[in-house]
Every structure is written in structure tokens, then in C-alpha cells.
Amino acid sequence: MLDADFFRRWMTVTAASVDREAERLTALDSPIGDADHGSNLQRGFAAVRAALEKEPPATPGAVLIQSGRLLISTVGGASGPLYGTLLRRTGKALGDATEVGERELAEALRAGVDAVMQLGGAAAGDKTMVDALLPAVDALGDSFAAARTAAEEGAVATTPLRARKGRASYLGERSVGHQDPGATSAALLIAGLVDAASDTEAGDE
């Protein structure tokens, strides 16, 4: 079972990987975006990490709802409301339980991804974070590691796509040949599940 501490770790390790990959995310955002994806997410997840360290919420749902709210208020770019909605809606779907199963998390995350697609109007193949999140959610029933692989493959697979959402869509054909920064950061978030789980196991031993 996954408790609030697992979800706190998930956010903390994601903050760390966003820190580590911030330059790469911004570099990916330079040719087809406005070159702020890394720094925007870094600011958002730094706020999330600080709030969780100060006063960690008691339930998995509350951890994600608080984190989502902070991303919306601190990121400053479109990734704020998108990731914020993802986490908040996932958190709401988890309810008040103090522990949740992996299957419940998979279902909740699917509700979160649905909410992101509704908010941004993006579908699979539009060259957005959805292209990493959808395959990840599908694979989450197998294992966190399978979800990570699916998300990373989904992110890489955005390279030949033509952007149909966001600023990159204005570039039309010129968006082809670049990996989508949002799908890349979404893969970091999903990879965080694996790290959070291994941290928990190490902590239990």
C-alpha cells in the first residue's frame, strides 16, 4: 500500500529530477516553445517541495491536491495549470484514504489525465504531455517500471509529430523533429514513482 509519505517522496524526487533536467527541458523548449519550461517547472516543484517539508499533509490525496494547487499558483506558464490539474484531480480521485493501492493510483491518475486533456483540449498524437501520460497510465496496471518505460517511449515518440496544441502549433511543420518538452517532463514525473517506491522499500528495511 502507498501512504502519504510515498506521495511526498514522489513529489520530492520529481522536484529533484526537474532540477537535474531543467536545462535540458528548457533547451527542448527553445526551438518550438518560449524556452522557459525547465525554469518554470523548477520554480513550481521547488515550491511544492518546500511546502511538503514544512507541513506534510496526512493523506495521499491531500499531498497531491496541495501540490497541484501550488503548481497552478507558482509556475507562471501553461505547464502550471496543466500539471496542477493533473495532480489535483488525481488527488481528489484518491479521496480521504490514508493508504491507497497501486490499482487505485492507476485509476486516479487516469482521471487526472482525462482532466488535463479536457483542460488543454489535447488528444493523443498532438505532441503534448498527454503522449507520455496516456501510455504511462495504461502500463501502470503492470508496474511503476513499466509505466516509466511507456512514458519515456511516449516522450521520444513525439519527435516526428507535428504540434497541434500550444505555442508550438503555430510552427506547423517546423515543429516536426523536436521532442516535446511537456512529454519529456511528464516522463520525469512518472519515473518519480519508481524512485519513490524504491526509497520506501529501502526505508522499510
Binding site: D36, S73, A78
Partner: protein
């Protein structure tokens, strides 16, 4: 419609300068001394291009006179931030609506209409109708 309860207008742009200037333009075209509360919410709050949920929430609260608040946005994160705040439920005043309208023309139409004491639905309709104004 009502005595003094005018619909409030919030203008959200990636640029603080654009939001403030469009607010000034719309109020100016509505007539000197218009009582319509108009608040810009531009930029990130730290002087950069982007959207600040806190600025949007503060602007909406500042123009809420009880008749509803119409929010107009430019694009991208401005639209998504307002939608996300509306979905949150308690971040924006009751009867706040994201209005689907062109930013400049819609803002002028919204402020002029709100100045007549029109309700939120009428303000929204006037702003949306600005899409039909062709220039050529």
C-alpha cells in the same frame, strides 16, 4: 438592471503592460469616468511574461461588486490558468466567468456594455460578439 452593481472585468495577458494598456483603452472608450470596475492581471508578478494565478484571483476579487465578474484572456497559460482556477471552485468570486472573446475588441465591448448596467450574460454576449467584427 441594478442600482450600482456593475459587472466587473478582469483582463489577463502574458504581459503586464498589455493588460494595463487594454484596461486603460477599454475604460477610455467607454467614456471618461466610467464606474465599471476593470482590473488588469498581466505577467507573472515578478515582471516576466506569463500568468500569475495570484494576480488573477486578486484582480477578480477587486472588481467583484456582486454582479459577477467577466474574465478576458489572451492565450495559452492565461486561458488555462483561469480555467484551472474556475475548476478549483473557491479561488475566484462567485459568478466569475471566462469569456470567449478577442482580447482587445472584447474588452472594449465588455466594458462599454457593463457600463450600461447590463448583467453578466449580456456582457459576455457583447464581448463574444466582437469575434464577428471583420476589418476587411
Amino acid at each position: 438592471m441594478s442600482d450600482e452593481k456593475l459587472v466587473g472585468i478582469v483582463l489577463v495577458s502574458h504581459s503586464a503592460t498589455v493588460a494595463a494598456s487594454v484596461a486603460e483603452l477599454a475604460k477610455g472608450l467607454a467614456g471618461a469616468g466610467t464606474a465599471v470596475p476593470v482590473a488588469p492581471a498581466g505577467g507573472t508578478g515578478s515582471g516576466e511574461l506569463g500568468t500569475s494565478a495570484e494576480l488573477v484571483a486578486a484582480a477578480a476579487a477587486s472588481v467583484d461588486r456582486g454582479a459577477g465578474v467577466a474574465v478576458l484572456t489572451d492565450l495559452g497559460s492565461a486561458v488555462l490558468t483561469v480555467k484551472a482556477l474556475l475548476a478549483e471552485g473557491d479561488e475566484l468570486p462567485e459568478h466569475t466567468r471566462l469569456v470567449d472573446a478577442p482580447f482587445v475588441e472584447g474588452a472594449v465591448a465588455a466594458v462599454v456594455t457593463a457600463a450600461t448596467g447590463a448583467d453578466l450574460a449580456a456582457v459576455e454576449a457583447a464581448a463574444a460578439e466582437a469575434y464577428t467584427y471583420r476589418k476587411v
